[in-house]
Amino acid sequence: MASPLLSVRDLTTVIRTEGIEFEVVRGVSFDMYPNEILGLVGESGCGKTMTALSVMGLIPAPAARIAGGTVLFGDRDLVSLSERDMREVRGDDISMIFQDPLTSLDPMFRIGHLLTEVIRRHRPVSRSQAEAMALQALAEVELPDPETRMSQYPHQLSGGMRQRVMIAMALMLDPDILIADEPTTALDVTVQAQILDRLLGQQRRRGMSMLLITHDLGVVAAVADRVAVMYSGEIVEQAPVTQLFSDPQHPYTQGLLRAVPQTRHQRGALHTIPGRVPPPQFVPPGCPFSPRCSQALARCWEEHPDLVPENGRRLRCFNPQPLTPA
C-alpha cells in the first residue's frame, strides 16, 4: 500500500467547561490514503466531529485544546504547526464541508464574494480570475445558473444549493484531503443522493482522500473503502468496509448494524442499543461501552481494552462474539 497522506496518531483533545477538563477525543489513530474514502461512524456525541475539527485545527479555543498526539500531513505535524502555517493548509490542502448548509455560510455576503475570498487567500490571482475559478467550481458541482448564484446571498438559495456551494468551496482549490462532516444529514432525502453523488464524482475524478463522517451506515456501506467506528471519543473498531459489514466484531458495531432498519425484515421491533452514550465528563472506568454491553465481562468494567490490530482489522474489545441475527 502507498504511504498515507495523513497519519493521525494518539490524538487527544480536551474541553474545559466550568473549570473541569475532560477528553472528548481519546487517543485516536488512523491513516488516510490517496483516492480513498474513510468512513467515520458512531452515534451523536461520540467525538467524530471533534476528531475532524482537531485535524483541521479548528477546535474552539480556548475552551478546547489538543492535549496530545500527532497529525502528520506529509512531513509536517499539523498539531504543532503555527496558526499561520495551518491557515495555509486549511482550504487549500485540506478542506472541510460542514453538516448544516443553512447556517454554514455567512449570511451577509454574496456567494461569489465568499468563494473568491478563499481563492484569493490562497492563490495570487486577480478578482476576475478568482471569479472565473469560482464560477467553474460551481459549475462542476452542477449548481444551476451559477452566474446568478454568484451574486446572490445565501438566504436566497435552497439547502441543497447551499451545500453544493459548500462543496464547490471545499473543492475549488483541489485539496488533497476532504473532510465531509455529515454532508447530507440536514438535507431532504431526495437531495441527499444527488449531493453524495456529486461529492463522490469529484472525489474519484480528483483522486482525493476523503474522510466521510456520518451516522448513516447505509451511506458508508455504499461509498467508503474503510470504516472506523467511534464510541465515546475512541475508535472501537476499524476495518475495510466489506469486512466490517459482513463480520462486525465489536458489540457496539454490531449494535449499530442491527439498529439499521432492514427492508427485508419489515416486521418486528427495531433493534436498539440500551442506554446512552456517556457524556464525556463521565466516562466509565473500564470499557466505555460496558454499561450498555450485553456481553460485558467483569473485566470490561475494570480494565480499559486496547485497540488491537488483527488481519486488517483493529478492534477494542475483551470479549468479541460473532454477530447473532436479531
Binding site: 442506554g275 454499561p291 467483569a298 468494567w301
Partner: protein, 312 residues
Amino acid sequence: MTASTPESYLSEWDRRLLEFEESRHISVFRRGMRNLVRNRLLLSGVILGLLVVGAGVLGPVIAGGDYELINFSNIHAAPFSEDALLGTDHLGRDTATRLFVAIRVSLAVAVGVTGLALVAGLAIGTVAGFRGGWTDRSLSGVMDFIWGFPLILVAVLFAGGLGEGLLSVILAVGLVNMAAIARVVRGEVLSLSEREFIEAARAGGLSNWRIIRKHLLPNILAPALVLASYYVAVAIIAEAALSFIGLGAQPPLPSLGQMVAEGRNFLQLNHWETTVPGLALVAMVLSVSLIGDGLRDVFDPRLRHEAKGLES
C-alpha cells in the same frame, strides 16, 4: 475481580448517569442558587442589594432621628464629624438620617414603578403579540409613541395633573417603562407564536386564554422578569433624575436625586452632600444590574456567554 452481575452494574451505572444528568438539568431555582454562588458578580450584586434594602427598610428604624431637623450651627459638616456619621447638609440636617429615608423612597418608587410597568406591559404586550392584526398595530403604535416621548414631558404632565410628587413620578416612569416592556413582550410572543407548540395548541382547539395562560405566559415570564430587573434600574435612575430637577419628592422628604441636587451647589465646600447620595444611587443601580445579569444568566441560556465574560 468483583462479582457484580452485568444487570446490577447496568442499573447502578444508569442511576449514576441519571444523577449526573439531573445535576446538569436541575431546577431553575437550584441552578440559580448554584450560579449565585459561582458567579461572584451576581453574588456581590445580591449582597449589595441586601445592604441597600436593609439600609432603606431598617435604616430609618435603627438610626432614628428626624430627617427634617435643621441645625444652623452645624451646616456642611463632613462625614464622621461630631455626631453626624455622614455629615450634614446646607441646613444642618443629618445626612445619614436623610439618606436612609431617601433610599426607602427610591425603593418604594422602584417597586411601584416596576410592578405597574410589568403587569400592564405583560398584559398589553401579550394581547398585541397574540391577537395580531389591528389590535397589534394600534397597541404597538401607542406603545411606540409613549416609549418615544421624552420622559420629562410625561413627568411634567403628571405633575401638572396630580401635583408634583412621588405619585406623579411613579405614574410617569411606570407608563414609559410599561411601553418598553410591552414592546419586548410583544416581540417574544410573536416569535413564540410561530413555534410548533403554540401552533399545535391552536390546532388542538385550545381557547386563546388557555394558550396564553398555559403556554405563552410561562415562556414569557422568565424574559419578562429579566427585563423587569433591568427596568428597576431604569426606574431608580429616572426617579432620581426627576427629583434632581425638582419634580419628584417634595422637601423636606428626601430622595436621592433631590439630595444630589441640593448638594451640587456646595461641591467645593463639602462634596459629601453630593457624593454620598450619589454613591447610594450607584450602589442601588449596580446591585440591580448585577442581579439582572445573573437572572439572565439563569433564565436565558441564549445570552449566557454575554454574562460569562463577567464570570470568574
